[in-house]
């Protein structure tokens, strides 16, 4: 799955991805459990935020977690050792291509397709790794689902930077809405996609802090230097945009975001 990542590999990003999994775990993983003994592939485990959820929610599975970044894999190992010390994971520094010949009962892919120039091809390759009757579970966001109070053109502009940089790197941060056609095109059967919506206001302080601030705004902030270097925003515009975005996490502010979760079968 070799491609440039717009985010995911800095220490601040590692913290963000960890915060994200803690806050969103139930929302994203709800409904996903695998029977003990199932052979499960996590394609693109990153720093292991979702790996911890997989081994905790489906004890006894035979999990293979792969990533193309050795640094991320090392962090994922440490995270699982820390949060789920009794879990066994077969970690592989690998690309999807390296798995040919192996077969899995289930594939789990979370926040990976958004980075790929050809997500349909990746889904097709993953389908080839599934046993007959196997399932794939895909989770992705869609940054155009982000809206907030108070509204602000400056805040919207910094979010748009994230979308534009992701697109320039060959990815698509608006991929959530496309999961259903992508899974169909890749030949999966019984495709079911549903929204997983996060809404945070001052009466939901854990979500304000865990999602609006430490997940979403942190993710936007992670592309600051690249956005300014690319001439998308000036330093002053960037600061104004973040300041306005932070109002959505202040009392009287609100924030909305929708993830999409799709399941298909072979």
């Amino acid at each position: 799955m070799g491609t440039d990542y717009v985010h995911g590999y800095t220490p601040a990003e590692t913290r963000r991805l960890s915060d994200q999994a803690g806050t969103l775990a139930d929302l994203l993983h709800g409904g996903t459990t695998y029977a003990p003994g199932s052979r499960v592939l996590e394609a693109g485990c990153g720093v292991g935020a979702q790996t911890v959820q997989l081994v905790t929610r489906s004890p006894g599975i035979d999990l293979v977690s792969i990533d193309i970044s050795e640094a991320s894999l090392a962090q994922a190992k440490a995270r699982v050792a820390d949060h789920a010390p009794h879990a066994t994971v077969d970690w592989r520094h690998a690309d999807l291509h390296d798995l040919s010949g192996e077969k899995f009962d289930h594939v789990f892919v979370c926040f990976v397709l958004e980075h790929l120039p050809d997500p349909a091809a990746a889904l097709t390759r993953l389908r080839g790794l599934l046993e007959p009757g196997g399932t794939i579970t895909v989770i992705e966001g869609d940054h155009e689902s982000a809206f907030f109070h108070p509204r602000s053109a400056q805040a919207q502009a910094v979010i748009d930077c994230l979308v534009d940089l992701q697109a320039a790197a060959g990815g698509d941060s608006l991929i959530g809405r496309r999961l259903q056609p992508l899974l169909e095109q890749a030949g999966y059967d019984d495709v079911q996609v549903g929204p997983r919506t996060v809404y945070a206001d001052q009466n939901l302080p854990q979500l304000v802090d865990g999602f609006t601030r430490k997940t979403f705004i942190a993710m936007v902030e992670s592309v600051r230097d690249r956005a300014i270097a690319a001439g998308l925003r000036t330093e002053a515009e960037w600061a104004a945009g973040i300041r306005d975005l932070e109002k959505s996490a202040a009392p009287g502010g609100t924030f909305h975001y929708t993830f999409f979760k799709g399941v298909g079968r072979t």
Copy 2:
């Protein structure tokens, strides 16, 4: 609550509002039931689409349903007689001001605040009609939550017409995201707001037909003449926008929309 409505009073609109309630009833009314004997005010019942749900889901309530349009009230009466013939509703051709002196255990307001120039004032007035410990339930959409596949600037532009016309008439079709601060400002306690998200793709044909086509696209189409008369779009641009929007209801298309439901107490 006298103000110009951008939509709601044409025969096509009546059909749309009826379709909407059928498709969305569980999503919007889930969690809202009142004990038999409760005195409930439905403020702005329109053509009765939600009234039918109220009397069906909370049998035995003492319901007062008011609206400022006599024509709508007549349709609401006919609808309830048709769908819930044993229900008793105290219909009133009235404004909120006409209710002073009366008290209610619960107030229900759905798709009304979006039309008002001062929704905070309306919420404050409604609070004055509640018994101590009474509740208000408010449901509103937010048209910026609408996004779809395939993306289209022309389709987005026709949606923006609806938002602009509503704003020109003194309303706010982006009000959903503001329910929490509005309820707080009006002095309600224990305010809880949550998203109610609709997602439709070809594997959810009832939602594609009932929501994407017959609710959302129909609502956009209802402002066609006004949008063209106001010079917001040409006839050709309008047709292109609707054609693109309809692709979101075709195989391979997807559509997303989030309603907000808020509850507060006195």
